[in-house]
Symmetry: C2
Subunit: 237 residues, 2 copies
């Protein structure tokens, strides 16, 4: 008889506040013998920090090293991580893989998922940074018949403008070093004055402010701008 | 001394699976004397059904009647609902307002929020249908530098096409009676064959299938299509 293979649970653990964990993610996290999470080369894993209070001594931990440098990590990083997880699953261990926010919304999990297609995987959705930032800012993301665009700040200036022209509201995410460009394109489009800046939405370091008031070199990677087209300062809509 | 006014907690209770409630929403739900929720004229409140197991006898319940007819409810519906909630808050009662999915992502809460601006409100983000559908279908929503568009199926055909042209992946939501039109525009754009249909993502009635295989009159309101531009059947990308 073939040995039972392990199951991989990709758990969305939410945007940072440990209380934004779901009951389902908590149940599965506590049920598995192995807990895996992405971690930088130096320093702590953000995903692990969110659920640290629930991890128990008898659980084995696997830190998957994902170097945090500008640009995307090379394919070999994900190949190695997927092999590490596959070895656990093949040995029969169930694994909870912690994913900050939601696993399939800009998650590095996506790179592992495509490499682990031969395995049994359950994905548990989590609260994303998108809705967490809207809640922190008390800004409606989108309503009724509106189209919402989620635009990475790494897009080039013309692309950002084209994408803003095709929606009713937008979130420009991962501002970080792209802040000068994002402020410039929004100013050009008459959208800067109505834009709201949110940083670390659910953490004690939370900051909500008019985007126009933020110094360009102050924005961390985990920050976003919320924009509604009806907020144009030039009266167009 | 002025009497203490009540606090309104707008709780995102997730897309349907009771286990996708967050720990924070659960804590606040159990702490308040009054639980309010939107309800149709006839039948049960979907938001209430998600957390029914946690509501206790000593909690007072307020069903806010929101008629479910084509088009948006008239402003008077929300005026009356906001007055009802305001009266509770002014009498000093804390109220948990249950919001299916996330309160600020296409939520009818948005209509109440703008009317209750004078009150103390805390918004607790929830798991949205967007990430829940992606998890159910095991389809990455968006990754790396991609732009995601969320497009209501009520948009007209040219508008849907224009918005799809300005993103890397998309979710067309609230398919319901708009299914014929949505299938037609996706077929025209070479996107139908790659599109995935998801209905009731986290409920026992869940259905995931190729969008092209769905009979147009079968789609309920709570269904969506997930589309990636790299999935074009004509080879464009």
């Amino acid at each position: 008889m073939a040995a039972r293979r392990g199951r991989l649970y990709a758990l969305g653990v939410g945007p940072g506040d440990p209380e934004l964990l779901t009951l389902k993610a908590l149940r599965l996290l506590r049920a598995v013998p192995v807990v895996a999470y992405p971690a930088p080369e130096h320093g702590d894993s953000f995903a692990r920090s969110i659920v640290a209070a629930w991890i128990e001594d008898h659980q084995r931990e696997i830190a998957i090293c994902i170097p945090m440098r500008p640009g995307s990590p090379p394919a070999e990083v994900y190949d190695a991580a997927a092999e590490q997880l596959a070895a656990e699953l093949e040995s029969g261990c169930d694994v909870a893989l912690l994913c900050q926010g939601d696993p399939l919304f800009y998650g590095s999990f996506i790179n592992l998922f495509t490499r682990l297609a031969a395995h049994w995987i359950e994905i548990v959705p989590g609260v994303s940074s998108l809705t967490a930032c809207a809640a922190a800012a008390a800004v409606p993301l989108v309503s009724r018949n509106g189209t919402l665009a989620v635009i990475p700040a790494t897009s080039d200036e013309d692309q950002i403008a084209a994408r803003l022209a095709a929606c009713d509201s937008a979130a420009i995410i991962k501002l970080g070093r792209q802040m000068v460009k994002v402020q410039r394109v929004l100013r050009r489009l008459g959208l800067l004055d109505g834009a709201v800046y949110v940083e670390h939405a659910t953490l004690p370091t939370r900051r909500v402010a008019p985007l126009a008031s933020i110094e360009p070199d102050q924005a961390p990677y985990f920050s976003m701008a919320l924009i509604t087209m009806s907020g144009r300062s030039d009266g167009r809509s």
